[in-house]
Each structure stands twice: as structure tokens, then as C-alpha cells.
Amino acid sequence: MRESLAVIWAIGRKDLLLETRNKDVIVAVSVFALLVLMIFTFAIDINQVNAKLTGPGILWASIAFAGVTGLNRAFALELEGNTLEALMLAPISRDLIYAGKMFGNFLFITAAQIIVIPIFAVLFNLAVLRWEMLVVSLLTTIGFSAIGTLFAAMTIRVRAREVMLPLLFLPVVTPLIMAAVESTSHVVNDSSWPEIYQWIQLAIAFDIAFIVISAFIFQQILED
């Protein structure tokens, strides 16, 4: 167990180290998300009345779209020097590679959210910075990185990778996006915990289901 965690940490730390060198993913993800937010503030005339109604949806739509681009980048990084194969040569089971890459992706999306959510709060004038929001974004990010890592690994050899990943990713994560949007709108409406909780439950169920499936099938994805 401790050895496995060390391996996951080594892979994740490597992603972070590379990120500090070339700043590919976090910058791309957060700038993209902010751009989507900005376009929406032009497309929809945001005011006190409709901000609570439209804000949560816009926030998570922008994070989902930006997340996909980030996932694409994060795997492109392993493709450049064929390094994914180097990881595959190591005497570790393939689900540890999955867990390590997922950990790295989780950190990237989280970092992007740390930048995006406060700016969203300012642009839409909404009080999202509550502890419930922490739970929501944590669970959503786990789900995004679990599914995203899986599909990013699957689409590595696909011709139109940049198109194929969102096509697979977005429909499958729809329930998670619904859960995130609904619980965020409960958060901005100051709802009580039980109301948020039913959506949190959905997110938890989704995360558990897909982490288990992904770890189960990731074994077979990498080999051709």
C-alpha cells in the first residue's frame, strides 16, 4: 500500500515538475475557462436577477470545456517522448499508472479552479466561497479526472484526438455536471445542507462507480 502510494506520488510529482517548467496545462485550462466565462458575460446580460439562475451552469460549463483541453494537453505531454511506454516498462501494475496520471490531472483541474472560481464569484457577484463549494468542486474534479484520464489514454492513438476526447468525455460526465450545477446553485441560494446533499450523493456514487471501472479496465487500455 505504502509502495503504491509512493509510485502514485512519484508520477504525480513528475507531472507537477514538468508543469512548473513549461506551464502547459494549468495556464491553458484557467485561461480557457476564464475566456468561456467572459464570453458568457457578454452573451447573457448578467444582472442581480439572473446571475443566480445562470451562473452555476456557466461556471461548470466553462470548467468542463477547459478541463477537456487540459486533459488533452496532459496526455500530449506523455506522447512527445513516448514516455508513457517508459512508465509501462516499469514493474508496476497499470492501475498505478492510471492512479498517478489521474492524480496529476486532479491537481491541474483543482489548480485551475482555484483561479477560476474566485474570478467567477467576482464577475457574477455570487457568494460561492463556502465550505460546501469545496466539497462540490472536490467531488466533481475527482470524477472529471477519473473519466478524463481514462478517455485521454484511450484516445491517444486516435486520429482526431482533440475532437474525440470531448465527444466521449462530455456525454459520460453529464450526470456529474448536473450534480455540480445543481449543488452550486443551492450554494449560491444559501440552501440548507440536506438539499445540497442529494446532489452530493449523486456525485459520490458517480465517482466511486467510475474509479472502480477505470482501475479495472485501465490494465488493458495501454497495450496494443
Partner: protein, 245 residues
């Protein structure tokens, strides 16, 4: 003579006769429903088509699962054939449902759970087919596609649950009178619906079978090409062995 008999008892002829009978039942035999009027006849088409789409998804995931388990190409062929036919049925189910909803619910689309689930599943299986088209050929493609199909199948109940919860939070624009009010038709509705479901199930099976056969021929050509190489290789091998020893 035998050719004529074969044609008469062939599944295609049977399907055509059944479909014709179904059309007769829908347009002539069954009385017009009083709540919705003639437009209710769409039901006899929409429900069996939606059923076909659902069947497609079940067959895709079952075939994919069996392929991963048994590694037999038969199951992969079955999965891809029924995915393609299922996407046709699914697209039609969405279209016919939308056209039906407009006069009855006064909108083309609402956020109702079944509709949302059908739409998302349609997208997942479109992505499945596109993935197969874009991925370089080989066993890895079949394996990964099978995994996507299974992920889609596992996602289905979660999507339905989420969509249901969502539509409770945002009451759908209109809850359908078609769904709620009892029909004035009684058993005749059931008879036509059953007949139509049987005909469309048969049509589904026929289409899947046809797609499957094409796929099988394609695979045979592929295998033949390999084996042809094998023959020349065997010859070379023999001559080489003579030359060196």
C-alpha cells in the same frame, strides 16, 4: 419454384408482410383516440422504435462484454452492427418523439428524464461509432470500443437518476397529457402496439443481421489477405530451408 417458396417464407418477406399489416392496423383498424386525435397514432411508431433503440444498447453492451470475456470476433461484430442500427433507431426515436411532442405538449423538447437520458445515450453511442472509425484498426480498437460501450451502459442508470432528480428540481414545461390521461382506446391500443413492436423488432433483427453479414465478409477478406501472404511465406520457408542446410 423453390425460389418463390424461399422468398415467401424468408424473414424479409415475413417482415414486409408484418410491417404492412401494422401500417394497416395503425391507419385503418384502430379508432382515433379522443384526447389527442389522429396524432396519437404516432405512438404506434414511436414506442416500438424507442424500444428498438433500447434493444440496440442492450445488445451492444452484452456483445461488448462477451467480446472482452471470450475474445471472439463474433461478439465484436454483433456489437458494432447493433450499435449502428441502434443509433439509427435512437435518432428516429428522438425525432418522432419531438414531432409528437410539438402538437401534444406544445414544445419540441423538455427536460424530462427519459428524453434527456435518450439524448445522452444517443451521443455516447455516436461517439462509440466515431471512435471505431477514427482508431487505427486492430484488436486494440475492438477492445477499447467494447470498454466504451460498457462504460455507456453503466452510465445509463446514473444518467437516468440524475436527469430524474434534475427534472424534479426544474419541473418540466408540460407534463404530458398523453402520458397521464387514460386512453380512450383500451385494448385496441395494446393490440396495435404489440403488432407494431413485433414488426419493428423483426426489422431491427434483420438490419442487425445484414450489417453483421457485411462485417463478416469484410473480416473474411481481411483474413484471406493475411492467409494469402501465409501461403507464399510457407513456400519461401520451404525453399529457404533447402537452400541453407
Amino acid at each position: 419454384m423453390t425460389k418463390v417458396i424461399n422468398l415467401i417464407v424468408s424473414p424479409i418477406a415475413l417482415s414486409a408482410v408484418l410491417m404492412g399489416t401494422t401500417l394497416w392496423l395503425i391507419f385503418v383498424w384502430v379508432p382515433t383516440e379522443t384526447n389527442q386525435g389522429a396524432v396519437q397514432r404516432i405512438l404506434y411508431l414511436h414506442v416500438p422504435i424507442a424500444w428498438g433503440a433500447m434493444m440496440g444498447i442492450i445488445v451492444v453492451s452484452a456483445g461488448s462484454f462477451l467480446y472482452l470475456w471470450k475474445k471472439n470476433e463474433i461478439w465484436d461484430r454483433l456489437a458494432v452492427a447493433s450499435a449502428e442500427v441502434g443509433v439509427v433507431f435512437g435518432g428516429l426515436a428522438l425525432l418522432t418523439g419531438m414531432i409528437w411532442a410539438k402538437p401534444v405538449w406544445a414544445v419540441w423538447w423538455t427536460g424530462e428524464a427519459k428524453l434527456t437520458t435518450t439524448l445522452i445515450l444517443f451521443f455516447i453511442y455516436v461517439a462509440y461509432l466515431m471512435f471505431r472509425a477514427y482508431f487505427p484498426p486492430g484488436t486494440q480498437r475492438q477492445r477499447l470500443a467494447a470498454m466504451i460501450a460498457i462504460i455507456g451502459a453503466i452510465d445509463t442508470p446514473i444518467i437516468y437518476f440524475a436527469a430524474n432528480l434534475w427534472s424534479q428540481a426544474h419541473p418540466p414545461l408540460i407534463t404530458g397529457p398523453a402520458a397521464d390521461s387514460e386512453s380512450s382506446l383500451g385494448t385496441s391500443l395494446g393490440v396495435v402496439l404489440l403488432a407494431s413492436t413485433v414488426s419493428f423488432t423483426l426489422l431491427f433483427i434483420l438490419l442487425v443481421k445484414m450489417r453483421y453479414e457485411i462485417r463478416k465478409s469484410e473480416d473474411e477478406i481481411k483474413h484471406f489477405k493475411r492467409n494469402h501472404q501465409l501461403d507464399s511465406a510457407v513456400l519461401n520457408n520451404i525453399s529457404q530451408a533447402r537452400g541453407t542446410s
